[in-house]
Protein backbone atom coordinates (compact mmCIF):
# COMPACT_ATOMS: atom_id res chain seq x y z
CA UNK A 1 0.00 0.00 0.00
CA UNK A 2 2.86 2.34 -0.82
CA UNK A 3 2.41 4.37 -4.01
CA UNK A 4 5.14 4.96 -6.53
CA UNK A 5 6.75 8.33 -5.98
CA UNK A 6 5.02 11.34 -7.45
CA UNK A 7 5.08 15.12 -7.30
CA UNK A 8 2.23 16.90 -5.63
CA UNK A 9 1.12 20.36 -6.66
CA UNK A 10 -1.73 22.18 -4.97
CA UNK A 11 -3.14 24.45 -7.63
CA UNK A 12 -4.22 27.85 -6.34
CA UNK A 13 -6.66 28.55 -9.12
CA UNK A 14 -8.46 26.77 -11.89
CA UNK A 15 -6.30 28.57 -14.47
CA UNK A 16 -3.18 27.32 -12.76
CA UNK A 17 -4.59 23.78 -12.69
CA UNK A 18 -5.37 23.96 -16.41
CA UNK A 19 -1.91 25.19 -17.22
CA UNK A 20 -0.28 22.53 -15.01
CA UNK A 21 -2.30 19.88 -16.76
CA UNK A 22 -1.27 21.29 -20.13
CA UNK A 23 2.35 21.12 -19.03
CA UNK A 24 2.36 17.63 -17.52
CA UNK A 25 -0.22 16.07 -19.84
CA UNK A 26 -0.58 12.29 -19.41
CA UNK A 27 1.91 12.25 -16.55
CA UNK A 28 -0.57 14.14 -14.39
CA UNK A 29 -3.77 13.19 -12.65
CA UNK A 30 -6.23 15.58 -11.11
CA UNK A 31 -6.75 15.03 -7.37
CA UNK A 32 -10.32 15.92 -6.49
CA UNK A 33 -10.88 14.23 -3.14
CA UNK A 34 -8.90 11.15 -4.00
CA UNK A 35 -11.10 8.37 -2.71
CA UNK A 36 -10.70 6.34 -5.88
CA UNK A 37 -7.41 7.70 -7.14
CA UNK A 38 -5.34 7.30 -3.98
CA UNK A 39 -6.30 3.67 -3.33
CA UNK A 40 -5.48 2.88 -6.96
CA UNK A 41 -2.14 4.62 -6.53
CA UNK A 42 -1.41 2.78 -3.30
CA UNK A 43 -2.00 -0.46 -5.15
CA UNK A 44 0.21 0.92 -7.95
CA UNK A 45 -2.59 0.31 -10.42
CA UNK A 46 -2.10 3.96 -11.27
CA UNK A 47 1.29 5.62 -11.13
CA UNK A 48 0.89 9.25 -12.15
CA UNK A 49 4.07 11.28 -11.92
CA UNK A 50 2.27 14.43 -10.87
CA UNK A 51 -0.85 15.02 -8.80
CA UNK A 52 -2.57 18.33 -9.34
CA UNK A 53 -4.73 18.93 -6.31
CA UNK A 54 -7.85 21.03 -6.81
CA UNK A 55 -8.58 20.90 -3.09
CA UNK A 56 -7.58 24.50 -2.39
CA UNK A 57 -9.50 26.07 -5.21
CA UNK A 58 -12.42 27.58 -3.36
CA UNK A 59 -14.01 28.80 -6.58
CA UNK A 60 -14.80 25.20 -7.52
CA UNK A 61 -16.91 24.50 -4.48
CA UNK A 62 -20.45 25.86 -4.73
CA UNK A 63 -24.09 25.02 -5.20
CA UNK A 64 -26.13 27.80 -6.80
CA UNK A 65 -29.03 28.64 -9.09
CA UNK A 66 -28.08 30.52 -12.22
CA UNK A 67 -29.65 30.97 -15.64
CA UNK A 68 -32.52 28.68 -14.78
CA UNK A 69 -30.11 25.91 -13.87
CA UNK A 70 -28.66 24.41 -10.76
CA UNK A 71 -24.90 24.67 -10.87
CA UNK A 72 -22.63 22.57 -8.72
CA UNK A 73 -18.90 23.15 -8.60
CA UNK A 74 -16.76 20.09 -9.22
CA UNK A 75 -15.06 20.28 -5.82
CA UNK A 76 -18.31 20.28 -3.87
CA UNK A 77 -18.07 17.38 -1.42
CA UNK A 78 -20.69 14.67 -1.21
CA UNK A 79 -21.43 15.93 2.28
CA UNK A 80 -22.09 19.45 1.01
CA UNK A 81 -24.54 18.05 -1.51
CA UNK A 82 -26.13 15.87 1.15
CA UNK A 83 -26.73 18.82 3.46
CA UNK A 84 -27.57 21.57 0.97
CA UNK A 85 -30.87 23.26 1.83
CA UNK A 86 -31.18 24.54 -1.72
CA UNK A 87 -30.84 21.06 -3.19
CA UNK A 88 -33.16 19.51 -0.67
CA UNK A 89 -35.75 22.01 -1.76
CA UNK A 90 -35.33 22.04 -5.53
CA UNK A 91 -33.53 18.80 -6.40
CA UNK A 92 -33.82 16.31 -3.53
CA UNK A 93 -32.51 13.49 -5.73
CA UNK A 94 -28.97 14.77 -5.28
CA UNK A 95 -28.96 14.84 -1.47
CA UNK A 96 -30.75 11.49 -1.45
CA UNK A 97 -28.00 10.03 -3.63
CA UNK A 98 -25.24 11.60 -1.55
CA UNK A 99 -26.66 10.12 1.65
CA UNK A 100 -26.28 6.62 0.27
CA UNK A 101 -22.81 7.13 -1.09
CA UNK A 102 -19.77 5.51 0.51
CA UNK A 103 -19.30 6.21 4.19
CA UNK A 104 -18.86 9.31 6.30
CA UNK A 105 -15.16 9.70 5.49
CA UNK A 106 -15.79 9.34 1.78
CA UNK A 107 -18.63 11.84 1.91
CA UNK A 108 -16.54 14.33 3.84
CA UNK A 109 -13.59 14.29 1.46
CA UNK A 110 -14.87 12.93 -1.83
CA UNK A 111 -16.28 15.32 -4.41
CA UNK A 112 -19.04 15.09 -6.97
CA UNK A 113 -16.72 16.19 -9.77
CA UNK A 114 -14.05 13.68 -8.81
CA UNK A 115 -16.53 10.83 -8.74
CA UNK A 116 -18.19 11.74 -12.03
CA UNK A 117 -14.84 12.21 -13.78
CA UNK A 118 -13.60 8.85 -12.49
CA UNK A 119 -16.77 7.13 -13.73
CA UNK A 120 -16.59 3.97 -11.71
CA UNK A 121 -19.13 1.55 -13.17
CA UNK A 122 -20.77 1.19 -9.75
CA UNK A 123 -20.56 4.79 -8.57
CA UNK A 124 -23.80 6.44 -7.46
CA UNK A 125 -23.55 9.89 -9.03
CA UNK A 126 -23.73 8.87 -12.70
CA UNK A 127 -27.24 7.46 -12.16
CA UNK A 128 -28.49 10.75 -10.74
CA UNK A 129 -26.63 12.87 -13.29
CA UNK A 130 -28.23 10.88 -16.11
CA UNK A 131 -31.70 10.88 -14.61
CA UNK A 132 -31.54 14.67 -14.24
CA UNK A 133 -30.40 15.18 -17.82
CA UNK A 134 -27.43 17.12 -16.49
CA UNK A 135 -24.67 18.79 -18.40
CA UNK A 136 -21.03 18.56 -17.56
CA UNK A 137 -18.79 21.52 -18.11
CA UNK A 138 -15.24 20.62 -19.03
CA UNK A 139 -12.67 23.35 -19.18
CA UNK A 140 -9.23 23.59 -20.70
CA UNK A 141 -6.87 26.10 -22.24
CA UNK A 142 -9.35 26.13 -25.12
CA UNK A 143 -12.16 27.28 -22.85
CA UNK A 144 -15.35 25.61 -21.67
CA UNK A 145 -17.04 22.69 -23.37
CA UNK A 146 -20.49 21.54 -22.32
CA UNK A 147 -21.14 17.80 -22.54
CA UNK A 148 -24.52 16.17 -22.16
CA UNK A 149 -24.55 13.53 -19.42
CA UNK A 150 -25.82 10.97 -21.90
CA UNK A 151 -22.65 11.28 -23.96
CA UNK A 152 -20.29 11.80 -21.01
CA UNK A 153 -20.00 8.21 -19.79
CA UNK A 154 -18.15 6.44 -22.59
CA UNK A 155 -17.26 3.11 -21.08
CA UNK A 156 -15.94 1.63 -17.85
CA UNK A 157 -13.70 4.24 -16.15
CA UNK A 158 -13.72 6.26 -19.35
CA UNK A 159 -15.49 9.56 -19.94
CA UNK A 160 -15.77 12.07 -22.74
CA UNK A 161 -13.20 14.30 -21.04
CA UNK A 162 -10.35 14.97 -23.40
CA UNK A 163 -6.68 15.30 -22.52
CA UNK A 164 -6.13 18.65 -20.85
CA UNK A 165 -9.72 19.03 -19.75
CA UNK A 166 -10.85 19.42 -16.17
CA UNK A 167 -14.42 18.78 -15.07
CA UNK A 168 -15.41 22.19 -13.72
CA UNK A 169 -19.13 22.17 -13.11
CA UNK A 170 -22.28 20.11 -13.24
CA UNK A 171 -25.45 21.80 -14.47
CA UNK A 172 -28.92 20.55 -13.78
CA UNK A 173 -31.75 21.95 -15.84
CA UNK A 174 -34.47 23.67 -13.85
CA UNK A 175 -37.60 21.65 -13.30
CA UNK A 176 -40.87 22.43 -15.02
CA UNK A 177 -43.97 21.66 -13.03
CA UNK A 178 -44.19 19.04 -10.36
CA UNK A 179 -41.35 16.59 -10.03
CA UNK A 180 -40.92 13.40 -8.09
CA UNK A 181 -37.46 12.00 -7.56
CA UNK A 182 -35.87 9.01 -5.89
CA UNK A 183 -32.59 7.15 -5.60
CA UNK A 184 -32.50 3.57 -4.36
CA UNK A 185 -29.62 1.16 -4.39
CA UNK A 186 -28.47 -2.29 -3.45
CA UNK A 187 -25.34 -1.65 -1.47
CA UNK A 188 -22.51 -4.08 -2.00
CA UNK A 189 -21.86 -5.48 1.48
CA UNK A 190 -18.11 -5.01 1.17
CA UNK A 191 -17.49 -1.95 -0.95
CA UNK A 192 -20.71 -0.02 -0.42
CA UNK A 193 -20.78 0.60 -4.17
CA UNK A 194 -24.05 0.13 -6.02
CA UNK A 195 -24.67 -3.44 -7.09
CA UNK A 196 -27.65 -1.73 -8.65
CA UNK A 197 -28.46 1.94 -8.24
CA UNK A 198 -31.52 3.57 -9.78
CA UNK A 199 -32.18 7.30 -9.93
CA UNK A 200 -35.54 8.54 -11.08
CA UNK A 201 -36.72 12.04 -11.98
CA UNK A 202 -40.38 12.23 -12.96
CA UNK A 203 -42.51 15.18 -13.96
CA UNK A 204 -46.24 14.92 -14.28
CA UNK A 205 -49.14 17.08 -15.21
CA UNK A 206 -52.77 16.22 -14.73
CA UNK A 207 -51.89 12.75 -13.50
CA UNK A 208 -49.96 11.91 -16.67
CA UNK A 209 -46.20 11.50 -16.88
CA UNK A 210 -44.73 14.40 -18.80
CA UNK A 211 -41.12 13.44 -18.64
CA UNK A 212 -39.12 10.68 -17.08
CA UNK A 213 -35.41 10.38 -16.44
CA UNK A 214 -34.19 7.00 -15.25
CA UNK A 215 -30.46 6.57 -14.67
CA UNK A 216 -29.06 3.21 -13.72
CA UNK A 217 -25.63 2.42 -12.34
CA UNK A 218 -23.86 -0.77 -11.26
CA UNK A 219 -25.67 -2.93 -13.77
CA UNK A 220 -23.52 -2.38 -16.81
CA UNK A 221 -19.90 -1.38 -17.49
CA UNK A 222 -21.15 2.20 -17.62
CA UNK A 223 -24.14 3.98 -16.17
CA UNK A 224 -26.97 4.44 -18.64
CA UNK A 225 -30.40 5.92 -19.16
CA UNK A 226 -33.04 3.24 -19.29
CA UNK A 227 -34.76 4.46 -22.44
CA UNK A 228 -37.36 1.71 -22.57
CA UNK A 229 -38.37 2.38 -18.98
CA UNK A 230 -38.74 6.07 -19.74
CA UNK A 231 -40.81 5.50 -22.87
CA UNK A 232 -43.05 3.14 -20.93
CA UNK A 233 -43.88 5.99 -18.58
CA UNK A 234 -44.21 9.04 -20.78
CA UNK A 235 -47.75 10.08 -21.47
CA UNK A 236 -49.16 7.44 -19.15
CA UNK A 237 -50.88 7.63 -15.80
CA UNK A 238 -48.34 6.60 -13.18
CA UNK A 239 -50.28 3.74 -11.67
CA UNK A 240 -48.76 0.62 -10.17
CA UNK A 241 -49.26 -1.39 -13.31
CA UNK A 242 -47.54 1.14 -15.56
CA UNK A 243 -44.60 1.50 -13.19
CA UNK A 244 -44.16 -2.23 -12.90
CA UNK A 245 -44.41 -2.80 -16.65
CA UNK A 246 -41.93 -0.02 -17.37
CA UNK A 247 -39.48 -1.28 -14.74
CA UNK A 248 -39.31 -4.65 -16.45
CA UNK A 249 -37.24 -2.92 -19.15
CA UNK A 250 -34.58 -1.67 -16.73
CA UNK A 251 -31.77 -3.69 -18.25
CA UNK A 252 -32.87 -3.68 -21.87
CA UNK A 253 -30.08 -3.60 -24.38
CA UNK A 254 -27.11 -3.39 -22.04
CA UNK A 255 -24.30 -5.80 -21.21
CA UNK A 256 -25.00 -6.85 -17.67
CA UNK A 257 -22.14 -7.10 -15.19
CA UNK A 258 -21.44 -10.34 -13.43
CA UNK A 259 -19.23 -10.69 -10.39
CA UNK A 260 -18.79 -12.69 -7.20
CA UNK A 261 -21.73 -11.00 -5.52
CA UNK A 262 -24.31 -11.05 -8.27
CA UNK A 263 -24.58 -12.93 -11.54
CA UNK A 264 -25.93 -11.15 -14.60
CA UNK A 265 -29.24 -12.98 -14.18
CA UNK A 266 -29.65 -11.84 -10.59
CA UNK A 267 -28.45 -8.32 -11.33
CA UNK A 268 -31.08 -8.02 -13.98
CA UNK A 269 -33.71 -9.05 -11.46
CA UNK A 270 -32.39 -6.50 -8.95
CA UNK A 271 -32.42 -3.83 -11.62
CA UNK A 272 -36.05 -4.57 -12.38
CA UNK A 273 -37.18 -4.65 -8.76
CA UNK A 274 -35.21 -1.60 -7.68
CA UNK A 275 -36.30 0.36 -10.72
CA UNK A 276 -39.89 -0.37 -9.83
CA UNK A 277 -39.26 0.67 -6.22
CA UNK A 278 -37.56 3.88 -7.32
CA UNK A 279 -40.44 4.65 -9.66
CA UNK A 280 -42.98 3.99 -6.94
CA UNK A 281 -41.21 6.28 -4.51
CA UNK A 282 -40.74 9.00 -7.11
CA UNK A 283 -44.36 8.75 -8.22
CA UNK A 284 -45.56 8.96 -4.63
CA UNK A 285 -43.56 12.16 -4.23
CA UNK A 286 -45.34 13.79 -7.12
CA UNK A 287 -48.38 14.17 -4.92
Amino acid sequence: MIPASFDYIAAKSLDEAISLLATHKDDAKILAGGHSLLPAMKLRLMQPKVLIDLGRIKELSYIKEEAGQLRIGAMTTHFQVETSDLLRRVCPLLPETATQLGDMQVRNKGTIGGSVAHSDPAADWPAAILALDAEIVATSARGDRVIKATSFFVEMLTTALEPGEILREIRIPGGKGKSGQAYVKVRHPASGFAVVGVAVNLAADGGKCQSAGVGITGVSPKAYRAANVESGLKGNALDAKTLSAAAAHAADGVDINSDLYASAEYRKQLATVYTRRALEIAASRLK
Binding site: L43, L45, S258
Partner: protein, 153 residues
Protein backbone atom coordinates in the same frame (compact mmCIF):
# COMPACT_ATOMS: atom_id res chain seq x y z
CA UNK B 1 -13.48 -16.80 -16.43
CA UNK B 2 -15.18 -17.48 -19.71
CA UNK B 3 -15.86 -15.19 -22.60
CA UNK B 4 -17.84 -16.20 -25.59
CA UNK B 5 -19.83 -14.76 -28.42
CA UNK B 6 -20.32 -14.54 -32.12
CA UNK B 7 -19.25 -11.71 -34.34
CA UNK B 8 -20.33 -11.24 -37.89
CA UNK B 9 -17.80 -9.44 -40.06
CA UNK B 10 -18.44 -8.40 -43.58
CA UNK B 11 -15.60 -10.20 -45.31
CA UNK B 12 -15.34 -13.54 -47.09
CA UNK B 13 -14.15 -16.37 -44.91
CA UNK B 14 -10.84 -17.07 -46.70
CA UNK B 15 -9.84 -13.43 -46.47
CA UNK B 16 -11.04 -13.25 -42.89
CA UNK B 17 -9.01 -16.25 -41.88
CA UNK B 18 -5.90 -14.99 -43.60
CA UNK B 19 -6.24 -11.76 -41.67
CA UNK B 20 -6.74 -13.52 -38.37
CA UNK B 21 -3.44 -15.35 -38.62
CA UNK B 22 -1.55 -12.36 -39.99
CA UNK B 23 0.70 -10.94 -37.25
CA UNK B 24 0.41 -7.46 -38.72
CA UNK B 25 -3.36 -7.60 -38.41
CA UNK B 26 -3.22 -9.15 -34.96
CA UNK B 27 -0.92 -6.41 -33.74
CA UNK B 28 -3.46 -3.84 -34.88
CA UNK B 29 -6.39 -5.70 -33.34
CA UNK B 30 -5.11 -7.02 -30.01
CA UNK B 31 -5.97 -4.13 -27.69
CA UNK B 32 -2.91 -2.20 -26.57
CA UNK B 33 -0.47 -4.26 -28.61
CA UNK B 34 2.48 -1.99 -29.26
CA UNK B 35 4.92 -4.34 -30.93
CA UNK B 36 5.01 -7.92 -32.05
CA UNK B 37 8.06 -9.90 -33.08
CA UNK B 38 8.21 -13.35 -34.51
CA UNK B 39 9.97 -15.78 -32.24
CA UNK B 40 9.04 -19.02 -33.97
CA UNK B 41 6.49 -20.67 -36.20
CA UNK B 42 3.22 -18.90 -35.32
CA UNK B 43 4.80 -17.58 -32.17
CA UNK B 44 5.42 -13.97 -31.32
CA UNK B 45 6.60 -11.87 -28.49
CA UNK B 46 4.64 -8.73 -27.86
CA UNK B 47 4.40 -5.70 -25.66
CA UNK B 48 0.89 -4.87 -24.48
CA UNK B 49 -0.40 -1.83 -22.69
CA UNK B 50 -3.71 -3.08 -21.47
CA UNK B 51 -6.33 -1.86 -19.09
CA UNK B 52 -9.35 0.31 -18.76
CA UNK B 53 -9.46 4.08 -18.60
CA UNK B 54 -6.55 5.38 -16.58
CA UNK B 55 -5.85 1.98 -15.02
CA UNK B 56 -3.31 0.44 -17.33
CA UNK B 57 -0.43 -1.96 -17.08
CA UNK B 58 2.41 -2.90 -19.35
CA UNK B 59 2.70 -6.59 -20.08
CA UNK B 60 5.43 -8.55 -21.78
CA UNK B 61 3.50 -11.12 -23.67
CA UNK B 62 3.71 -14.10 -25.94
CA UNK B 63 1.17 -14.59 -28.67
CA UNK B 64 0.81 -17.98 -30.29
CA UNK B 65 -1.51 -19.41 -32.88
CA UNK B 66 -2.35 -23.05 -32.40
CA UNK B 67 -4.49 -25.80 -33.94
CA UNK B 68 -4.72 -23.97 -37.24
CA UNK B 69 -7.23 -25.52 -39.64
CA UNK B 70 -7.58 -23.03 -42.45
CA UNK B 71 -9.99 -21.44 -43.13
CA UNK B 72 -12.21 -22.49 -40.27
CA UNK B 73 -10.50 -22.78 -36.92
CA UNK B 74 -7.57 -21.76 -34.81
CA UNK B 75 -6.70 -21.03 -31.24
CA UNK B 76 -5.22 -17.72 -30.18
CA UNK B 77 -3.19 -17.84 -27.00
CA UNK B 78 -1.94 -14.67 -25.33
CA UNK B 79 0.06 -14.76 -22.11
CA UNK B 80 1.36 -11.60 -20.54
CA UNK B 81 3.27 -10.72 -17.41
CA UNK B 82 3.84 -7.33 -15.91
CA UNK B 83 3.88 -5.27 -12.75
CA UNK B 84 0.13 -5.66 -12.15
CA UNK B 85 0.29 -9.44 -12.45
CA UNK B 86 -0.29 -11.84 -15.25
CA UNK B 87 -2.95 -12.43 -17.86
CA UNK B 88 -3.55 -15.65 -19.71
CA UNK B 89 -6.11 -15.79 -22.42
CA UNK B 90 -6.90 -18.43 -24.94
CA UNK B 91 -9.68 -18.37 -27.42
CA UNK B 92 -10.95 -20.87 -29.94
CA UNK B 93 -12.17 -19.13 -33.06
CA UNK B 94 -14.49 -20.92 -35.45
CA UNK B 95 -15.29 -19.31 -38.78
CA UNK B 96 -18.36 -20.12 -40.82
CA UNK B 97 -19.77 -18.58 -43.96
CA UNK B 98 -22.64 -16.19 -43.46
CA UNK B 99 -23.51 -15.36 -47.02
CA UNK B 100 -20.71 -13.16 -48.28
CA UNK B 101 -19.75 -12.38 -44.68
CA UNK B 102 -18.19 -14.53 -41.99
CA UNK B 103 -19.45 -15.51 -38.58
CA UNK B 104 -16.67 -15.76 -36.06
CA UNK B 105 -17.80 -17.79 -33.12
CA UNK B 106 -15.41 -17.59 -30.20
CA UNK B 107 -15.15 -19.23 -26.82
CA UNK B 108 -12.33 -18.30 -24.58
CA UNK B 109 -10.93 -18.63 -21.15
CA UNK B 110 -9.24 -15.69 -19.44
CA UNK B 111 -7.26 -16.02 -16.25
CA UNK B 112 -5.58 -13.25 -14.38
CA UNK B 113 -3.20 -13.45 -11.47
CA UNK B 114 -1.40 -11.26 -9.00
CA UNK B 115 -2.56 -7.76 -8.17
CA UNK B 116 -5.27 -7.58 -10.82
CA UNK B 117 -6.80 -10.81 -9.57
CA UNK B 118 -6.74 -9.72 -5.96
CA UNK B 119 -8.27 -6.28 -6.47
CA UNK B 120 -10.08 -6.43 -9.76
CA UNK B 121 -12.75 -9.05 -9.16
CA UNK B 122 -15.73 -6.81 -9.75
CA UNK B 123 -14.43 -5.42 -13.04
CA UNK B 124 -12.56 -8.34 -14.58
CA UNK B 125 -15.43 -9.91 -16.48
CA UNK B 126 -16.56 -6.61 -17.91
CA UNK B 127 -12.98 -5.75 -18.83
CA UNK B 128 -12.50 -9.06 -20.62
CA UNK B 129 -15.72 -8.57 -22.56
CA UNK B 130 -14.69 -5.04 -23.41
CA UNK B 131 -11.27 -6.08 -24.67
CA UNK B 132 -12.82 -8.84 -26.77
CA UNK B 133 -15.23 -6.24 -28.13
CA UNK B 134 -12.34 -3.95 -29.04
CA UNK B 135 -10.51 -6.77 -30.75
CA UNK B 136 -13.44 -7.45 -33.06
CA UNK B 137 -14.14 -3.79 -33.65
CA UNK B 138 -10.57 -3.26 -34.79
CA UNK B 139 -10.80 -6.38 -36.87
CA UNK B 140 -13.93 -5.10 -38.53
CA UNK B 141 -12.34 -1.79 -39.45
CA UNK B 142 -9.24 -3.61 -40.62
CA UNK B 143 -11.33 -5.76 -42.94
CA UNK B 144 -13.15 -2.69 -44.19
CA UNK B 145 -9.83 -1.08 -44.91
CA UNK B 146 -8.59 -4.17 -46.68
CA UNK B 147 -11.76 -4.37 -48.76
CA UNK B 148 -11.21 -0.80 -49.89
CA UNK B 149 -7.62 -1.33 -50.91
CA UNK B 150 -8.09 -3.45 -54.06
CA UNK B 151 -10.89 -1.17 -55.23
CA UNK B 152 -8.72 1.89 -54.76
CA UNK B 153 -5.66 0.38 -56.34
Amino acid sequence: MKIEGTQKIDAPRALMFAALIDPAVLQKCIPGCEQMEKTGENQYSAKLTAGVGPVKGVFNATVSLEDIIAPEHYKLVVEGKGQPGFVKGSGELNLTDAGSATDIQYTGEVNVGGLIASVGQRMIQATANMLAGRFFKSLESEMKAQAKLPADS
